[in-house]
Symmetry: C2
Subunit: 552 residues, 2 copies
Amino acid sequence: MTIPLKIIPLGGMGEVGKNMTLLEYDGEAIMVDCGLMFPGSDMPGINLVIPDITYLQQNPNLLKAIFITHGHEDHIGAIPFVIRQLDVPIYATQLTCAFIKNKLKRTPGLSAKDIDLLTIADGDTITVGPFTLEPFRVSHSIPDAAGFVIHTPVGIVVHTGEYKFDPQPYSGITVDEDRLRTLGDAGVLALLSDSTNAERLGYTASEEMVAQNLDEIFSDAKGRIIVATFASNIYRIQMAIDLAMAHDRKVIFVGRSIIDNTRIARDLGYLTIPDDIIVPVDRVNNLPDSRVTIICTGTQGERNSALVRMANGEHNNVDIMTGDTVIISATTIPGNEELVHRTLDNLFRRGANVIYQAIKPVHVSGHASREGQKKMLSLVRPKFFIPAQGEYRMLVLHGQLADEIDPPPQKTLIAENGQVIELYEENAYLRETVPAGHVFVDGLGVGDIGSIVLRDRHNLSRDGFVTCVIAIDENTGELVDGPDLVSRGFVYMKDSEMMLDEAAEIVVETLANLGRSAHPDTISETIHEVLSGFFYRQTHRRPMVFPVVLEV
Amino acid sequence: MTIPLKIIPLGGMGEVGKNMTLLEYDGEAIMVDCGLMFPGSDMPGINLVIPDITYLQQNPNLLKAIFITHGHEDHIGAIPFVIRQLDVPIYATQLTCAFIKNKLKRTPGLSAKDIDLLTIADGDTITVGPFTLEPFRVSHSIPDAAGFVIHTPVGIVVHTGEYKFDPQPYSGITVDEDRLRTLGDAGVLALLSDSTNAERLGYTASEEMVAQNLDEIFSDAKGRIIVATFASNIYRIQMAIDLAMAHDRKVIFVGRSIIDNTRIARDLGYLTIPDDIIVPVDRVNNLPDSRVTIICTGTQGERNSALVRMANGEHNNVDIMTGDTVIISATTIPGNEELVHRTLDNLFRRGANVIYQAIKPVHVSGHASREGQKKMLSLVRPKFFIPAQGEYRMLVLHGQLADEIDPPPQKTLIAENGQVIELYEENAYLRETVPAGHVFVDGLGVGDIGSIVLRDRHNLSRDGFVTCVIAIDENTGELVDGPDLVSRGFVYMKDSEMMLDEAAEIVVETLANLGRSAHPDTISETIHEVLSGFFYRQTHRRPMVFPVVLEV
């Protein structure tokens, strides 16, 4: 019987985030990426979401190694939470390794020394079990991003990682097109390709266009310039530094993540900064406004970010003021609109000249749009096409591009997390699923919060709760103390004394009606029912009601 | 002393929604619009937000009349909540009056008969105290939309309502440019103009473009066509009906609001529908797929909307299936992205061909973009320019257009809710503020929920709560029963018995250490402190902790 190659997405398929894909052949597997996702608005109180690795725990000797495409959180963020259980080496390019090390260093109880972290580079060949991997360089919004050519006994699999084609990349680095074309000529079994921008027509614009627009803004600005971007977007940071130098301005980094990342990138030569251009933030006010460039985070309106604190007048060193030019060089991640709009409004309130995507193109995506996705397909010409890394509609829209390629793939497979894709030399199938849900990180707990706790949090957030405590004599059944009512999130207690007093009276009457021989469980259930009904009639709200009956 | 004209925005200034503006002169005032806002994600459990009318309650005989620009919720939605207190006549155009009546009919305890609702039309002149109003027609995403020319003793004020210039409106109705130009020639004191699209460059595209794109989709579709739009967008509904007829399809309305609104609009002649084209939803399956057009709501991913139920397979009559073409003919309101994306994904999962703004322009905004806003300014040429109806950045960006007009306004005033704008013939000033916050509607409560309850709801949603109940002997101070712990939203109770048992032991120890003479308040405070610390150390979460001490 022929042994299939299995591709099992444990994350990132049908969602944007927590990318994790297994390749399995004959009892041995490798993993590509190990990312996290930030919680949606339907996950209150959750800090992070990571992939479910139950399948690997059920098959304890299956996994042999982890390969990381690049250093974004949705590709490396789950490593601290799963690496102790998995206990396999991690392969990544130089800068990606440095970001992983920094992350492990900041994880209590873990250190980079505990982890077998191996640096790979374009041109390397790594063999793990039946798999031989070759990283290839791609252009993305972080340096040292890679895709993987994976030689397997069934055929060659190309995993693009996240990429775009940029004819004028700021870094000079772009996708290795010749190599992909040569692979395509030789024959590729399957292509897993980045679907993020499958809703965007045309090509993603060049970084060079951003550089030109920023240059115009730098030329016009009389006062301070504040550039907000993602802390991992080292290219964009280099661009801001180069512009500052060209316009005779100093550079001030504000915020821990941007200071961390620029130090790491600079140490490894990914960022070029003359020493004399950097000024510490506490000396910003010694410089004339026209010589200041601040580089910071906060493009998503994150509450504790540098930009938000500056916009709110809560930063120790920098208050945004009239004359400042603030550039938001990033896209708004869906779900963050309200926070971003609030931050923009506060920047405008302080009198800043704020320049953001709607006003002028000061950012381009790190992902290929439809024409770029089509180009990738045309280069690789896979037998089987697996749109990866995207919400479901993006996978489908990406998949529709297959028809526009010559020759088209033999089959396009739209999978979701956990769905096993079986590849043979001549055909491919979607098979049964393995566990692959969300694992929630909340404080110290990893995986202990599930749908029940989230449902309770949701209910509590809508209408609050009321606890009703009574003490009854365990012999006579007589009410000894209470009812004491505790409530939060339901009504404003100070204005609702009358209603709560009435609720207490109703509980007393209910007890009287039940008689002294009633079982405590019966008492509880009856109080629950009576109070729920009473509160709904009074308010049309449905607080959670918790009776507590003590027998004394 | 010269008496100023005061313009007081009670809503809609610095926000999108709950529009309400007062014009006050010498002890008499009129109101333009009386809208609601839908709650943001930081307002859990809140149903609606309405303006604060404290200023009018403090000045009980001030208000003389309400004028409504058009029938959208953010212009009429607060009427049922404030009209009893205000008790003044409401003036609106015919269709707007009909929507208000329908709204009052659906409000328990109110009926259209209780309200003095007066129909006005283009060409009318209404005098109320020192104010004389003339409605003028504008093009917007709902029929019968008006702006107002308001003659006051200080000068003419133009309030645009919400408008766009459309060279090819589907209805044939566009802004009355000649009239505005004539007013501008005569001299306008102040312009209050719609800022909604101040972040959009160029002109808003024409409705005719949408009609052409929809026609292409209708031509290509082999199966059923489902058009989702706002229930109030009567023009778009007419467009879908006309296309259905042209392509030999029947029309099925699905959802209460769309059935209500089309009935109202049709009765008044705003919608032309031949009887034989409408088919009730329960007969949809009697028609061949190629003859079906469904018109429904749900463009915002609202949980109980027709489209969402169809996408989830929860609708009684219609399940989305392969072969269906679904058109989302609307924009996504900021904050609704997650729900909209989930709905799109579910439609794709069911195999539908889904066409939405990112794929093809199947919607245009009802608001003027920057070039249209500039045109309005150029026509009216006000002495004072007051950007209205928009979040703060939109007001500022709109205000910046003043410099591009010849002659530019003498002054541009960026106000926020509650800020009194004083206008004299020769100058204008921003003055002190009057109360103008959010009033929350939650169930039957209007205004009883404030920041404290919302903060509690927020905390409960993040980490839940723990109630700890004990009974102590009121004479001896001895623990008689408990500790009983009730918790929700904090940990999964079934898996956390050990921790909760330990918490109970800690409470017993704490009581022992306090001694039997401790005051119940001291006991409560100490339990609160000890348990909060214990839970944080165990979980790094911060549930709300509520001790209840009964003395028996």
